[in-house]
């Protein structure tokens, strides 16, 4: 059984420009346990971008911020160790989700992993759509991000139905 038959591989961002407030494509998580976003951070400059995970009741609806675990690669792309991840960090601060800082002076051309549990989404209010938000809080951030999400299905299939809209 190949990896895409055990997991759902979803393209969510293709060189999105993070100089403004932008989002990945939204994923409907109702048939999945968790999402692991693999992000390729491009060349960053000027200021930091801030990352949030959001749930909402519909595609492109961003209502509730979510807890997330994250880890960066160990070096910039093209170097050995760019594929060796740091220890997991959490975006929780005093039990409340906080922004993940994409520090422009540090993480230019790095890989980043973000993992979100469906159990942390507000399913009681039908918030079953998940997306990442990149916000230029500090002003002046430049760069772009590409990425996929790997979802752990509740019910595996050789060709599972779409999780997009």
């Amino acid at each position: 059984m190949y990896l895409p038959e055990k997991f759902k591989i979803v393209p969510v961002a293709n060189e999105i420009d993070i100089s403004g407030t932008v989002y990945t494509d939204s994923i409907n998580m109702k048939n999945y346990h968790r999402a692991t976003f693999i992000l390729q951070i491009g060349t960053l400059a000027v200021a930091d971008s801030h990352i949030w995970a959001y749930s909402g009741t519909a595609d492109s609806t961003y209502t509730s911020t979510l807890p997330a675990k994250y880890a960066f690669g160990g070096a910039a792309y093209g170097s050995a160790s760019c594929d060796v991840l740091s220890a997991d960090s959490s975006n929780l601060s005093a039990g409340v989700p906080a922004a993940i800082h994409l520090t422009n002076g540090t993480y230019s051309d790095f890989m980043m992993i973000i993992e979100v549990e469906s159990a942390d989404m507000d399913m009681a209010n039908q918030e079953e759509w998940l997306a990442l938000k990149f916000i230029n809080t500090d002003g002046g951030a430049t760069g772009n991000v590409s990425g996929i999400a790997i979802l752990e299905p509740r019910y595996t299939a050789n060709r599972s139905a779409t999780a997009l809209a």
Partner: protein
């Protein structure tokens, strides 16, 4: 254990320019500690002509000695559309024709390419694997963003690098 501890996730190519040369290989992966490799390819701005995807092994990083047949599946739509994440049934290239021709109509699509390490010429120490996006002088344009997901023989919390 999260996914990144079960699998090795490798950022392999940032924006390979398909038009920059006749052949445009990714970084090489040392597969000596992995069972298989799934390349996840995003296409950006592809146009003008078809290009060719080749998977190659070599005895060192940046050595491209043997073309390897591979399995592949293309997404069902361009990114941001429903079905962008529903892939075609697996198909294979062959020893006689190991390359895959990708039409210029697949702009913003996702391509999956799958290789077993056992298909590599390990008897000749060809343990380095790469994927190449070749316009073969045809004038194909666009870029490829490539991630690789490897199945480790020995998973761990923080797996050593497989790059050079």
């Amino acid at each position: 254990m999260n996914l990144a501890q079960e699998k090795k996730i490798v950022w392999l190519a940032e924006d390979i320019d398909i038009n920059s040369a006749g052949t445009n290989p990714s970084d090489g992966i040392n597969m000596s500690k992995y069972h298989d490799c799934l390349f996840v390819v995003h296409y950006i701005d592809v146009g003008v002509k078809a290009h060719y995807v080749r998977v190659q092994s070599g005895a060192a990083e940046a050595a491209y000695s043997s073309n390897i047949p591979f399995k592949y599946a293309m997404g069902g739509a361009a990114l941001s559309a429903a079905n962008a994440d529903v892939y075609a049934t697996w198909a294979s290239t062959t020893v006689a024709a190991p390359e895959l021709s990708v039409a210029d109509s697949y702009d913003n699509y996702t391509l999956l390419v799958y290789i077993e390490a056992s298909q590599m010429d390990v008897a000749n120490q060809e343990e380095w694997l790469n994927i190449s996006f070749d316009d073969d002088g045809n004038g194909a344009t666009g870029q490829a963003v490539v991630m690789a997901i490897l199945s480790p023989r020995y998973p761990s919390g923080s797996i050593a690098t497989c790059l050079a």
